[in-house]
């Protein structure tokens, strides 16, 4: 792998993580699935790159891109955590609205029976 290939690998991973972060601006289950696909692709790319004997070639050019990748990963983590936090609290609220509160003050457990959904 030459210097250009090294740089390209990190750039592509960075682009995938940025796309994932854009998807998280509008988090729906479908968007989150697409986000996971992009993150998995970035993980696979970086894992393969790390195993290569000349992965460090062209460090002077690759290092700034790697730092941009780190910033993108942190931003994606922040967005994932804020969306997850939103839904976790929303879920607690809905549970409380559905089943009331337990004697300790926490939302009571909601019984969610299995459902069968038929579509024609």
């Amino acid at each position: 792998m030459n210097t250009e290939d090294n740089l390209k690998t990190i750039e592509t991973a960075c682009s995938e993580v940025r796309q994932a972060s854009r998807l998280l601006c509008s988090p729906s289950p479908a968007q989150l699935d697409r986000c996971a696909v992009l993150l998995q692709a970035a993980v696979t790319r970086l894992e393969e790159w790390r195993k290569l004997p000349h992965a460090h070639r062209g460090a002077a050019r690759a290092l700034p891109e790697a730092r941009r990748l780190r910033a993108a990963v942190r931003r994606t983590r922040g967005l994932l955590e804020s969306a997850a936090g939103y839904h976790a609290a929303w879920r607690r609220l809905i549970d409380a609205m559905s089943a009331g509160y337990a004697p300790g003050g926490a939302p009571a457990a909601v019984v969610r029976p299995a459902r069968l959904c038929l579509r024609g």
């Binding site: 989150l32 993150l39 790390r50 460090h56 839904h87």
Partner: protein, 480 residues
Amino acid sequence: MSGLSAAMASAAGALEAYDRVLEVTQNNVDNANTPGYAAQTQTLEALPFDLDAGALGGVSAGEVVSARDQYSEQAVRSATTALGAANQNVQSLTSVQSVFDVTGNSGLPYALNNLFRSFSAWAQSPTGTVEQQSVLDQASAVANAFQQTATQLAQVRQGVETQLQQTVDTVNQLTAQLAGLNQQVAAGGQNDAGLDAQVTSTLETLSQYVDVSASKQPDGASTVLLNGQTPLVLGTTAYQLTYQLSEPQDPPPDYPQGPPSASILSEDNDVTSQVTTGSLGALLDVENRVIPSYLGSAYQAGDLNTMAQQFADYVNQTLTSGDIDAGDPPQGGVALFTYDTSNDTDVAASMAVDPTVTPDQLAAIDPGPPPVNNGIALQLAALANPQSNDGEIQNVSYSEFFGQMASSVGAELSAATDNQQTQQSTVAQAQDLRQQTSGVSLDQEAMTLIQFQRAYEANSHLITILDELTEDAINMLLLT
């Protein structure tokens, strides 16, 4: 009532109810682009049907229900508060960073390099008048550079203090507006969608400045709390915040003459500790933490003052330990720098070269034994690259120490810029989530949340792996 007229009355009632439905729908269309507006639904209530009792059935208009969900509104406000803090941090830290030029072409690093060079030249020619004059000139330039850096930082602080006052004024105006809106709600505007939109929009604007939580009371009025604790608006009363600069007393100050700290009061209670985010929180952080780390406060001298004091003391002690000439008795050297010795937080701003010192009073001779005729000049020239703790400050050279101050602002600004980008996305995300959750049925939502939970777990796992891989990649690249 005859059957016919009863049927007509029932039909008229139904028509009136549907008229209200159309009115609400029209209102939704009219306000589609109104900031803060949430669509409303007119509910219809079935009237009892019992012919024997004279109840003829039909429908009547019930409550007007807003699609707005208080939970998602609060999430948008929290994200807006964090963005307000991030924007303010970037703005303030950019001003602080501009004071620290690390290119070496101006400011303190430039002046220090020139002084070290003049010490070297003086060591080559310890009795040279030109070289001695150059040392005096460059020492004056260093003193001026310390003063200028302190003055520029003080100007940044003054700007922050002006912004603090303006921000508090804006918060007070907004809370007064909310109290006024509450008054209109109390006067019968409980179902007025326009009023509701104004309240929401004002709350969103307010949340840029401070962390607010708002809740609707049964009478429709909004209660607004600062950080969930201190009332800002209760019913039709707005509680004003005030800003003040004062010397803290608890714990007792280590530097009683140090610059004062900023605090925020509500009804004479100090609520500064509750203002941790929003643009007001960010301004307080710069005023009470960032700038004091350089210029000092009641509890610290500040890095710039510490550097100025140690540098001046080292040069003065070195010069006074030397001799101007080795006659009998030898004539001792004199101190070069002066500063305000009564106030450790004013050293950089007051640093100067003693105007009574003349070039021929600079002591170049190290009395030894054995005496070295340029020993003192050499010792001072070594300040550029100190080889031992002598001539160092906190184990680094003076130039490196200044570089560390500059790089800490740079690192903080870089983190603030990253955070600003994240917060911009987080606000967009919160607005999108508000859109998703408005008016969704609980049943549907419960099912979707299970899907969300699984998706979050999968993504979170991947992010953790990516984080590690990225750190590894950076370490691998750094090692080459």
